[in-house]
């Protein structure tokens, strides 16, 4: 049974992961995190909670997939997930960049139109 997580660390893990989930919930409620970007965080928090309750879980899944050392599975899954999410964030940033550019150009063109209207009026 030496692959099973000890009770003390289990309690700490449960508290931290529940706290994490609560914090994400708070961010969403306060409008600081948009729902579409919160899925991955909620999902991550739920996985953390699952494994803090299910003590043998990690060892069972590692064995199932034929991974020799269970922590390696954690690293692999986590790093892969992080890469995918970073790529997603880059896509979001690129979209924002494009929208920002369009808006700025529109503002410059509108400013010019407004000034023209004002100066036409004062001339009359």
């Amino acid at each position: 049974m030496n692959n099973v997580v000890p009770v003390k660390i289990q309690i700490i893990a449960i508290v931290i992961s529940l706290g994490f989930l609560a914090y994400i919930g708070r961010l969403i409620v306060k409008g600081k995190l948009r729902e579409e970007y919160s899925f991955i965080w909620v999902f991550g928090a739920l996985i953390l909670i699952l494994f803090s309750f299910w003590r043998e879980g990690l060892a069972v899944i590692a064995k199932l997939l034929g991974v020799y050392a269970a922590p390696n599975l954690v690293f692999m899954v986590a790093i892969f997930g992080i890469f995918i999410y970073l790529l997603h964030i880059s896509v979001v940033v690129s979209q924002l960049h494009e929208k920002n550019k369009k808006l700025s150009q529109e503002i410059a063109l509108l400013k010019n139109k407004i000034e023209k209207i004002i100066s036409d009026k004062t001339e009359k």
């Binding site: 550019k101 700025s104 150009q105 410059a108 010019n112």
Partner: protein, 239 residues
Amino acid sequence: MIKRIAVIVPAYNEEKSIAGVVNDINAVNLGNEFEITVIVVNDCSHDRTAEIAGRLKCILLDLPVNLGIGGAVQTGFKYAYENKYDFAMQVDGDGQHPPTEIPKLLKHISETNADIVIGSRFINNIGFISTFSRRLGIVFFKYLLRLFCGVIITDSTSGFRILNRKVLAIVSEIYPDDYPEPVSIILFRRNNLKIEEVPVIMCERKGGKSSIKAFTSLYYMLKVSIAVFFTYIRNRNKN
């Protein structure tokens, strides 16, 4: 009918040279057939560029945030397209492109069926022809562009160019962000537009800095190469 030409001057911190450039462009004599309008696009300068340009005989487009050369020039293209100009030209705000050379480009585009006419320093090799390393980069682009679009453009980094309404319709929708000059050539070719070059004489910049710094030139070459490649792929279906 009088043909209207929008001369777009992108300006970022060009307080020293902007007045000279705008006045020189307005002073160019094009005869009765053409009418020139200078459009200064102030790319959120920190200095007095906007204030000075506001007093000059020009249309001022004031960007609220810095977009870089591509975004700034595109703002001018959008204005020219919306306001039904026949031709749009780009003349840099740093005094590198002598306005006295404008008639050469205009003459060529109105007399031939070219859609884009680029002013090239390297056809006759007179005037200011840039530093050795810049020229090396330009030669690299020449071969890169020949590989991708089968035309020889001797001065792909030249921003001194004129284009007609057909091109304006395209560039007011899509135009590359940074380092737009070489990348836009691929875009033009992919849309089956005819690009031609005429020899011009350029000057050394009077003020301001090049958008291409020596320190980042390798990065520039790499980025342009990647952009050229993906612009090629992206627009492949059009042919």
